[in-house]
Symmetry: C2
Subunit: 260 residues, 2 copies
């Protein structure tokens, strides 16, 4: 065993923190004897690993406020390491069986693959592309409130890209389905990985062709148009709605729109 | 059974074609009695379905030249329908078992979900984001030839987005890994779904910081820099390399770069 290797400290799916507020690391000796290890990469010449936990995180995304607190506390570099590691070990924990034949799968290639021991099918960690969009009409932004969100919280609409769609088609379909607003002239703004469980957020901007909203109440609790003043005040913490937190790409998109 | 419903004709994973060169459709009566049906959407008020075949397509991507011929023959609308349907039925055929517990899964929500009959875990069709990039240095483009490609064929480099990466980070990592070229100033150009099996191609442009190439021979057979004249001639069919076919986003990216 390489004494220079180190193991990311995880409590279930939560990051362990050291005294300075950074990610805590231990040694490979701290991993359970039968744990599968995922290779995360090298840092200062030391190989970094994370252990696959007995169970994945099947619960609702981000239900745990402690995750938000940890994300706010971590540096961008530590957040990137934690995010990638969390996505990977969670995927491994939920893919111990082959979806093709039901056989047992085994970690391979340092954790960037699992192979079926029965039918031989290879399986790869998944990354789910999700569109998230600024939709603008007459200088106002279309924002919505998801089902079960805290009172007053509004954000940009978002939705998974479906098989057979481009990013631009997914933006238009999702906004039309959720609010009845037709969107054109979609452009890409920025992307961000979001490890709950393994999303690639694709931030876009588009123009709404109509202002009237027909809400899909199975997806959204509310949606409405907000002025530049509304959004600016919300980002300052004293607007007509609670803005998305700074770590979320939605917050970045709102700031991008304000500075545009 | 609704007489207005129709079933996409598939021969394995290949599209059936009608006399006019369009996608062939039959009726639900033509589906095997025990076939799982995926709902594709409505077309002119008629519900459209595709049947999940006994086996998915585990072979190498696009190994079958007949697929390329069919893709060249189909209209853009038909190609979009075939692409989305192919991705979905292939995913269903390869996900009859739960990766979480090994139990049997059952098609749900018209084919946009499978649920495990043992542990209850829901599973969703996957879409894999893949970066594909124009890398430019001193007015020349970095193009490569994959292992096993036909002699003379060159295209833009490409690679899967890994967990924890943004699009821009994935572009830079992939190009550095495959060729040793460092990339900066990455911008997004266009996206395209690519149903072999379920990729979302993310077309980008970036600038190479160095010209010297260190080839990763486990990924590429060759890579080199090509001038505007080279690329223009190749797109006309008489250049120093064989350009990617018109249906591929790589071809679109090369044309975008020429017109820039």
């Amino acid at each position: 065993m390489n004494w220079r290797a180190r193991l990311l400290a995880l409590d279930g799916m939560m990051p362990g923190m050291d005294d300075t507020g950074g990610l805590a690391w231990t040694t490979l000796a701290d991993a359970p004897e039968d744990a599968e290890l995922v290779f995360l990469g090298f840092d200062d010449g030391r190989a970094c690993f994370a252990a696959v936990p007995p169970q994945g995180d099947a619960g609702p995304r981000l239900a745990n406020p402690a995750v938000w607190q940890a994300m706010a506390a971590l540096s961008p570099d530590d957040l990137a390491i934690y995010g990638g590691a969390r996505s990977l070990v969670d995927w491994h924990a939920r893919h111990r069986y082959c979806p093709n034949c039901g056989g047992n799968t085994k970690l391979a290639k340092g954790g960037w693959q699992r192979n079926c021991e029965s039918c031989g099918a290879p399986h790869f960690p998944r990354t789910d592309p999700v569109t998230i969009m600024l939709v603008e009409h007459d200088g106002k932004l279309l924002l919505g409130r998801g089902l079960g969100w805290p009172e007053g919280r509004y954000s940009t609409l978002a939705g998974f890209v479906e098989p057979g769609e481009s990013i631009e088609e997914a933006v238009a379909r999702e906004v039309l389905e959720e609010t009845g607003v037709r969107v054109s002239n979609v452009t890409y703004v920025a992307s961000q990985p979001w490890p709950f469980p393994s999303q690639l957020m694709l931030g876009c901007h588009g123009y709404g062709d109509n202002e009237d909203i027909t809400l899909d109440t199975t997806e959204l609790a509310d949606a409405g148009w907000y002025s530049r003043e509304d959004v600016g005040a919300a980002l300052e913490g004293n607007g007509p709605f609670i803005a998305p937190p700074p770590q979320a790409i939605a917050n970045h998109l709102l700031r991008w729109w304000m500075e545009r």
